[in-house]
Amino acid sequence: MNANRIATGALLAGVLALALFPLFAEKFYVQLLAKIMIMAIFAMSLNLLLGYTGLVSFGHAAFFGASGYALALLTPQYHAANFWTSLPLAVAASALLALVIGFFVVRTRGIYFIMVTLAFAQMLFFLFFDTKIAGGSDGIYIDMRPVAKIGDWQVFRLDDFVHVYYLVLVFLGLTYVLLRMILRSLFGRVLAGIRVNEHRMRSLGYPSFRYKLACFVIAGAIAGVAGYLSAVQFGVVNPEMLGWHLSAAVMMMVILGGMGTLLGPAIGAAIWMLLELGFQSLPQALGVDFGKHWQLFMGGFIVLATLLLPNGLISVADLLRGRGKATRG
């Protein structure tokens, strides 16, 4: 009980700090934190598959990029898209894509699941990379950010970095609440059962394929929210948003932060992005450009972290509480 109260207190303090951050921080840091929160939403969506259902999807960027591209394609030339319609449409595009891909991949298991999710995502990557659709390999700019108006009242401005920050924060909160509710629901318990023992779930009367597919679609849709926000923040989409580098990075964030915990992936996303920035800005010394070889340091950190904290960085909190094991749904 006491530990729960501390956790709730820490969560509220964190939310308050995030809410107040733009009042004190410079533009660069506000944008950085917004970017981190977008990746946190993305990582939390993958965690629904990876941590809670045991589906190791190696193509999750497909759904992130799909909604970004959907926004770009929904944005008329020289005009702005409508936020209220483009967001649901972009997310629906990701969900639909997840439904189609999921229909095929969810039948496979283990290593094959990893391979086919990767293959589908790479097909999408090359569809945009090798053709002239939406600017080909260069990507496409979204010059005019979506407009969020009710009547004549402009509710918020997506070309204002502070407004974007708060919009992202709201969606991070919504994602947290949504996932929390789903995990406690009848559906959520079925996912947990599938993760632990799918065979027994089937013999108990659960058509596991349908539940895994539904989970795949939900995860794809939430990734779509993140992708839309990312396209809004940067005003550009390119094939990298769909590529396997991003799929791998978001998987690392989830594993680093703590699979199967609600906030672990968000922490993983923050640590990952801050380290990436930190290692990239390492100075030149002894004739070696350390910053250029940042991935070497990142790799070393991942190895250390996974060896020392196999349950993810979030398990530090449990260690401090003297429990030694990360709690899992």
């Binding site: 406690r184 009848l186 318990r189 632990v196 013999s203 009367g205 659960y206 058509p207 349908r210």
Partner: protein, 252 residues
């Protein structure tokens, strides 16, 4: 015993490559009847149950449940039609509590679990069904313990409780007593006698005392085939059975 059979197999056969694990098995299970299948190791008893539960597809033959041909149906469909099974090798959700194992089993009887916002733990009927199943196998008070921390015998009890929590008409029990102590065994034997009133039970079991205590009908399998089928009395006095099984087998 006058009831019509709720399960009937005809010429049920399963091959694994060159091996015929189950060959031309025809048997019936009736309501309020315990039908025990016995036979030496490797006789095909577990394969038979797998064919009935949908864990395996038959190579040939039919399985009819009530009026429905369920041959080759997926296990979740067969489960939904009122067939519950337990596994010889404990097949549960080890990280979950005993209660959650049974609750998940009971939840499967809801029309659908595609309920994304309805909290799982507040469904009174499902909770009650899970509690009843735990109590039936003698695990009341152990519900909040993770199954991984239960003794082997208790895990076997959870295995049976899960099958019960799905409220089946037909129970397929694959060596429910294996690994249980004497006291637990006696309890489960008593439970089976009680369950027999309202269920059809197909029981695979090596414990002959238990088998002869609960079985109404016995089928003896050897090398995938039915050697003999009849009342316990008939089986006990069958020369063929004596020779092939009862006399020579003292394994387990």
């Amino acid at each position: 015993m006058a009831d019509a059979a709720i399960l009937r197999t005809q010429g049920l056969t399963r091959r694994f490559g060159g091996l015929v694990a189950v060959r031309d098995v025809s048997l019936e299970c009736r309501m309020s009847e315990v039908h025990a299948v016995i036979g030496p190791n490797g006789a095909g008893k577990t394969t038979l149950i797998n064919l009935l539960s949908g864990d395996l597809e038959p190579t040939a033959g039919t399985v009819v449940l009530g009026d429905a041909d369920i041959t080759g149906l997926a296990s979740y469909r067969i489960s939904k039609l009122g067939v519950g099974r337990s596994y010889q090798k404990t097949n549960v959700f080890l990280p979950f509590t005993a209660f959650e194992n049974c609750r998940l089993a009971a939840q499967s009887r809801l029309a659908s679990s595609m309920r994304f916002f309805r909290p799982a733990l507040t469904d009174r009927e499902v909770n009650a069904a899970a509690e009843r199943a735990l109590a039936a196998v003698g695990l009341e008070g152990r519900g909040s313990t993770p199954v991984a921390e239960l003794s082997h015998g208790e895990q076997r009890q959870v295995e049976i409780a899960m099958a019960l929590a799905t409220r089946p008409r037909l129970l397929l029990l694959d060596e429910p007593l294996a690994g249980m102590g004497a006291e637990e065994s006696a309890r489960i034997v008593a439970l089976l006698k009680g369950l027999a009133a309202e269920h059809a039970i197909l029981l695979v079991e090596h414990d002959m005392d238990a088998v002869f205590a609960v079985a109404d009908v016995l089928t003896v399998m050897v090398s995938g085939m039915v050697l003999e089928s009849g009342t316990p009395g008939q089986i006990r006095s069958s020369g063929a059975v004596q020779e092939a099984y009862l006399g020579s087998d003292d394994a387990e």
